[in-house]
Symmetry: C2
Subunit: 401 residues, 2 copies
């Protein structure tokens, strides 16, 4: 709507309020005994069951997925997953935006309900990263950077994010201990999450002493590449009472963009796409960063979380590292970040991440997050990045009273 002042449109779009009424996810990990379609079905059916919705009530399915074509030789996965879930009559489409595929799928699902075209819609995310081996999986992940101008010359995700980390350290004095503090915190949170890939605390000493992947990033600065799936069920808020659970409203959605290749960006210590997506989503919700009771941010690397909590307005630029070290982003403190464990500890099934984040936010807003519950959580934000930051998407969720 940003240009509405320039060209006039008489009709005002009447966006309906949209709620998440069901959630489901698989445990995340190296799930060699389950195929992509099984993961997708398990998450989807859990969400449908959680909502208490009947299969024939679902009008459309969206599935976020980064690279099933390369990872399991299968494109066109959305109808495949729908079919094997017994929902072969329901149109299904895949949304892809690298690591932001899940969040972008949530936006499309939101639009399809907000517009009034559909009432009950399922949005899932699924990825099977581990069947091809770690080297190949990393190569495929790097194909969401600019292949012709970055990856083909040997730049990996690890090295591109390491450059950002180095620059952030140089410009703002961020330390390796502060990067490590992100990892320690997210592992502590993950230890409280029964669906997390890594469910144990990791002390600072271990993180600091772990092998260098791409200086200054060590093994514990990098999220794993994982298998997993997650799903949510959406419907208009005023229809939500007829289902099982208290609705959680999608109050705002925003997308941001940037140059594809890191070398074209104007900033290396910040992500323009994140800032833009966050501003749009919060503005649509009529809320501010300080109104958020928690956030799930895209910590594919520890430096990513530090940049995100700055770019989203939770902390001033340069204070992300110190804030983490102070404990401001830990559970029960100022603004708990990644209570789920984040990509670092909950795991990184790439195209599913955005939906895993939505699942965590709904658990928090329902008060069902168990040992990692944020007290009286009313509003939360979820933030999902594609590539090395060429795309980002943010949603603001809230309890519906």
């Amino acid at each position: 709507m940003q240009n509405s002042e320039k060209r006039s449109t008489q009709e005002s779009g009447n966006l309906r309020e949209v709620a998440i009424i069901g959630i489901g996810e698989t445990r995340i990990g190296e799930l060699w005994d389950q195929s992509l379609r099984e993961l997708g079905i398990n998450a989807g059916l859990s969400a449908i069951k959680d909502a208490g919705v009947k299969g024939e009530e679902i009008e459309k399915i969206y599935i976020g997925n980064m690279s099933a074509g390369r990872l399991i030789n299968q494109e066109h996965i959305a109808p495949m997953i729908a079919d094997y879930a017994g929902l072969d009559d329901i149109p299904a489409v895949r949304i892809e935006s690298g690591g932001a595929s899940g969040g972008m799928a949530l936006t499309e699902g939101y639009l399809s309900v907000a517009s009034g075209l559909h009432d009950v819609v399922v949005v899932g995310g699924a990825e099977k990263m581990t069947d091809v081996g770690d080297e190949e999986a990393k190569k495929i992940l790097s194909s969401t950077a600019d292949w012709e101008w970055e990856s083909v010359f040997g730049a990996t995700f690890d090295s591109l994010y390491a450059m950002m980390a180095r620059y952030h350290m140089f410009t703002h004095g961020t330390t390796k201990e502060q990067l490590a503090a992100v990892s320690v915190k997210n592992h502590a949170h993950g230890a409280l999450n029964p669906n997390a890939q890594f469910q144990r605390e990791v002390p600072l000493k271990i993180v600091m002493g772990s092998p260098i992947v791409s200086d200054p990033l060590t093994m514990f600065d990098c999220a794993p590449l994982s298998d997993g799936a997650a799903a949510v069920v959406l419907c208009p808020v005023d229809m939500a009472d007829s289902f099982n659970k208290d609705p959680v409203a999608i109050l705002g959605t925003g997308m941001g963009a940037d140059h594809m290749a890191v070398h074209d960006r104007r900033e290396l210590d910040a992500m323009k796409a994140t800032r833009s997506a966050g501003d749009k989503a919060l503005s649509m919700a009529g809320l501010k960063p300080e109104d958020m009771d928690f956030a799930e941010v895209h910590d594919n690397y520890t430096i990513s979380e530090i940049m995100a909590i700055e770019d989203l307005g939770f902390f001033p630029k340069g204070d992300g590292g110190p804030a983490t070290e102070r404990g401001d982003t830990s559970l029960h403190n100022k603004i708990p970040i990644n209570t789920s464990g984040g990509l670092k500890a909950k795991g990184q099934p790439v195209g599913a991440v955005g939906i895993n984040q939505a699942v965590e936010a709904v658990l928090q807003l329902r008060g069902e997050a168990g040992d990692r519950q944020v007290e009286d959580a009313e509003y939360g934000l979820i933030h999902n990045i594609g590539g090395t930051g060429a795309s980002a998407v943010v949603h603001v969720l809230g309890r519906w009273r």
Copy 2:
């Protein structure tokens, strides 16, 4: 809205009327001198120029693409194309549903404007099929069938569609001459389209005598695998007057689905997904098949066009072959089908096809289709299939007065 009688929702979604105000496409063919990003940019910038829209007015970009990950080692292509078009501030997302990726992207673009969230949106489609060689391209195309249950055992697109053709011949008496008549007609139409890959007429004798690909389908029963891109610009109808060209309205959109694997389907001589998508789109537009002045249907094989014109209600089941032989589907006759040349002669840049179809429909409805103009065309339908029919999408377009 199909379930609105079961669960009540007070707010009625207020879909805005949406228009296509700009179109652009590349020539289709074996374009070895252009990369995917160049194709995408060329189509997109043509569409923007055609509309007379400024870059900064665009609020979102959708790109339909089947398999850039496997074809050119690049996922996350939507922000890449936006970036290289100088639109790096504009959020861009990829939509994938095999061969129906373009049409599905058009649906998402439509929703983003109809909902009121965005005003000016660009929807493109792009595919680069020829850089990997014909064998590999066919293998990748076959990954939009069910890889684990069909393709891995050697079933190709050619053989799966050949089975449908054989069954259609057995059940309805469709002949090889009737299949060939589709190809002859589409080549005749393609000869009138300066963007078509094949711009010459091919006589029945040549089609009938061409080498068998998968019996009964010959080389001329199969569409080529091509490079190409296309784009359209969307905005609310009531804003369209401030741009260059007469708007063409999107009057209806519908998606359909079916089992992923052909062996799970209840019908082999018809596509349930097509029927369902067509019914929904026509019903939303408040129109009937006989109201259409032309249609672009997904003729990846000649048998596909015959099934489509039956399943969309232009002809009774079994009459698709005879109708084509009678000339009913030729230019200037009863219901001209694939005036562009269709996938057979215009070419098949897989993920772009649905947008190429939209471009042809807009040309016809504007009266800009030159030698292949349908007289006084008021309404047209476009039909796009994913895989072997597990997904389908139909749009009904019309002149806006």
